[in-house]
């Protein structure tokens, strides 16, 4: 039997990879994908605790997280398309309009 700690460690590693991609990439699309990775790590942790506590309410919460992730992806990708249409670039280091 796989202990529940293994799932938690896997979730932590996945979250760390998402954070690394979020910080170190400049392409806005890859940054959005890293956010999806972090949301999936949170979901994995929720489901691991659901299995440990044998409580199905955690599954409902993970369901909500998936719905929020879908909404976030739709709005985020629309914003990326809008930025690309106006500035012909999705490089985050070049988006300094609100910096001054």
């Amino acid at each position: 039997m796989i202990p529940v700690q293994d799932f938690l460690v896997l979730g932590a590693l996945l979250f760390a990879l998402g954070v690394a991609g979020f910080i170190y990439r400049r392409n806005a699309l890859i940054v959005l994908m890293s956010v999806e990775l972090m949301l999936n790590a949170a979901n994995l942790t929720l489901l691991a605790f659901a299995r440990a506590r044998q409580d199905v309410r955690f599954h409902v919460f993970a369901f909500m997280v998936i719905a929020i992730a879908a909404a976030e992806a739709a709005v985020g990708l629309a914003i990326v398309v809008g930025i690309f249409r106006n500035r012909h670039s999705v490089n985050l280091d070049e988006l300094t309009l609100m910096k001054h």
Binding site: M1, V4, D6, V9, Y24, I30, R51, A78, V81, R87
Partner: protein
Amino acid sequence: MSADRIIFWAFAIIFVLGGSLFTITRRNAVSAVMSLVATFFALAVVYVCLSAHFLAALQVLVYAGAIMTLFVFVVMVLNRDEMDPWARRGLLSRVLGIGLSSGGLVGLSFYLLDWKPEVTLGDLPGEWGGVASVGEVLFSDYLFPFEAISLLLLIAVIAAVVVARTPRQMQQLGLEESPPTAAEPSDAGSHP
């Protein structure tokens, strides 16, 4: 370490962690999306290991199906390889960031591997985590959050359409009065 743990970690390292590592390191956005799809499928398998069958099906349908299709379409619209994909940062902040995050991660992992939870992974009824058991809770105790989340998704879809529109398309829909000449971006040539 038992055999099923070895199989689990081999699968997790190769597919989940390897797929996500590919996602954040590929220069080509199509490769990144495809490895993200592989990661989501592997995560669905991990969910089945946690006997969350309904969430595993949702993972494949919503993430690997819907969200990834959205990403693929956006990549198709604006696909161009980057010359220098990594963010500009100083050596000090880079060393500090990597050191702090990996140090915290290793500490957390050691703590978790030593942690002895009070709960035990006993036998579950066969239908636990399936559509029936999740749906029973979802549509009784959590009916209002479920309806609220459907409203949120509707608002998100409308917002996505409004944000990603062109002024010409909005005028065709009768939602905007500005002439079509305003569709040309004024600062198209001024970006660095």
